[in-house]
Symmetry: C3
Subunit: 267 residues, 3 copies
């Protein structure tokens, strides 16, 4: 199986699928082609969220603001999975997760990912490496098998690659170890305007309300527990604190966008 993820919109990914289907009968599944444009950190977040749900597969992921520059192209092995991606960090958090197991908050003590650099043949295009570099390599890796990466002519093992670290929130706790104030950051905003922060969901445990940047908001398990159009703070399916609106856009109502600060305070 080959999964595809990109910020290419439409119809560019179809060219990648054509290229792949000339080389392999592998099944193809789309992860998304509307990943936040040119933002490898946001792409890395979504890949880490989605890829661990899949059985062993080759994942072709392209969010590549540096296309055409001298950034390297990589194949990252994580257990029985391989991710083919530009060297900008996009693949790394998902690869670590795939290597370690699927729990979002798992501590990764040992990091068995292996990174290979692709020797890129002079490509037909300076602007569409998805079609000309990453898709053909994904097909090649699929045909060779993930265990054969070290034998593939155009791959060379490397210790140097761009990493992405998601920012960590700072959490103040009281004497009972309950969180009382959190300084976090917006990681991504999803299709529906839900604002996903980097704050672990456990800070909301047993709370009925929270102050978000100074404004008191209800803490609820589900959208259905507040009125339509009402704000809520909840724990999303990725395990992080989200700032949402039932049947509305959290990003607009909370005035929050990626990389902005989010201060949470509890009474």
């Amino acid at each position: 199986m080959i999964t595809l993820a990109s910020d290419f919109g439409s119809p560019y990914p179809a060219a990648m699928k054509g290229v792949i289907s000339r080389r392999t009968d592998a099944r193809m599944l789309d992860v998304a082609h509307d990943l936040p444009r040119g933002d490898p950190r946001a792409g890395a977040f979504w890949l880490r969220f989605v890829l661990p749900e899949f059985p062993p597969a080759v994942h072709c992921a392209v969010v590549d603001p540096g296309v055409g520059t001298d950034r390297a192209a990589l194949v990252v092995r994580a257990g029985e999975h391989a991710i083919v991606a530009p060297d900008n960090g996009l693949a790394i958090p998902a690869a670590r997760e795939l290597a370690a197991g699927t729990a979002p908050e798992a501590e990764v003590e040992h990091n068995p990912i292996e990174v290979f650099e692709i020797e890129v043949e002079s490509p037909a295009s300076a602007t569409f490496h998805g079609r000309d570099v990453f898709a053909p390599m994904a097909a090649e890796v699929h045909e060779a098998g993930v265990d054969e990466l070290h034998t593939m002519d155009r791959l060379s093992h490397t210790q140097e690659f761009v990493d992405i670290a998601f920012p960590q929130p700072s959490i103040d706790r009281n004497a009972a170890e309950e969180p009382i104030a959190v300084e976090g950051e917006v990681l991504v905003v999803d299709t529906f305007g839900n604002v996903v922060t980097n704050v672990p969901g456990e800070v909301l445990r047993d709370r009925d309300t929270v102050e978000v940047n100074g404004e008191r908001v209800k803490v609820r398990d589900t959208f259905g527990e507040v009125d339509r159009g009402e704000k809520l703070v909840t724990v999303g399916s990725h395990g992080y604190v989200e700032c949402d609106v039932n049947d509305g856009r959290g990003d607009e109502r909370f005035r929050l966008s990626p990389r902005q600060r989010v201060q949470l305070a509890f009474e």
Copy 2:
């Protein structure tokens, strides 16, 4: 075959596909993931329109404003098809159609759908039952076979489920049984702004014009028969009266949105 339909946008449905592909090799086809958000009635309309085109399959459909509340999760059997969906009516009109045959206006005298409630294990997430409840069950039903629903441990047959009835228009007819005035309602607005009403297309038979909420509009078989930017009233591919604009948005030009009244009058 497993079809997927939701209002999840992107990339959430990919997590469902990962979950399914860990459990079965079944082919997956997307129906849509931009169904009107949080609106089971509109979702039910589109499922009833699309699903009867498919050969026997398991359909995983999630438009679920009540996620995380105590609404039940269902498997609905309709002939050789099964629909896995929340208990909010979403699956029922399509299931009846699948059970009865594919004609949009078929009278369903006998209703052989069977409804099973899913015993939901404590889920990993309160907000993403698509991934945690419906997708795994769709894979399980696919593997077991639609004939085995009554033998599956986590399913129990039920007579109680939420139904959705599409509103019926009221049609006044003259002595010759020709419609002269219709009081209908907007069911859905499609991607392009075409306004789909609940009025059966036959009321337009042999008509050249119709008054829509007091304004005279041409009745035509196809968009191409009016000028670009001109309004028309036509019969859509689902068999209902549509208020459209050639190369424009009917919803904006007719100022109509779902659940609004539409009065049609003929001379």
Copy 3:
């Protein structure tokens, strides 16, 4: 393999997939369903860009502003490929490319495409030939095989079909044969606002800047070579000159839309 392309948005293409999967187990891949609405020329551009990447396949392509009129429905054979499409030119540039080879600028001396008209049975719908005419025929052609088009009952060979010629730019050159002024036209604007012209990329060779409709703009190989929000002129992956903005919309910033004139001047 059957590919699908249309301007149908969602969820209409799913009805086509249902129809196809009742008739064949062929794999289906989406090219795009957000092709520019009602614009066969733009659709023809994208099909010519994408389809040559695919191995031999049946391509079902529907951008059909004339649906319901008496425009013919076609199967176009191009080598081992077949394109099922309305007779409005949509399929022809891609078919020629598929017949001639994949190089975007290949001169097509010999044109071996073969065109067959579909005898359309009275369809269920005047507005959804994608479901009622093109999808079933794509499935039928896939099952029969591209070599059997001349034996299929409902197909008759024809020499008459609507062609689409992309406009050619006029290029003034100096004594050294270097381009000094080009009068071109916008072919399409892609999802991200990149403005694709009909001017071949070679005119930018060895140039550092170009005047676009009177304004001097940098010529660069990649987006990454200008600042975020800055304009650039580059050669897209289709081989044509593009007017783009790094992390922004070229169509808005250059105030260009399809069919508008683009004048390029070099010092």
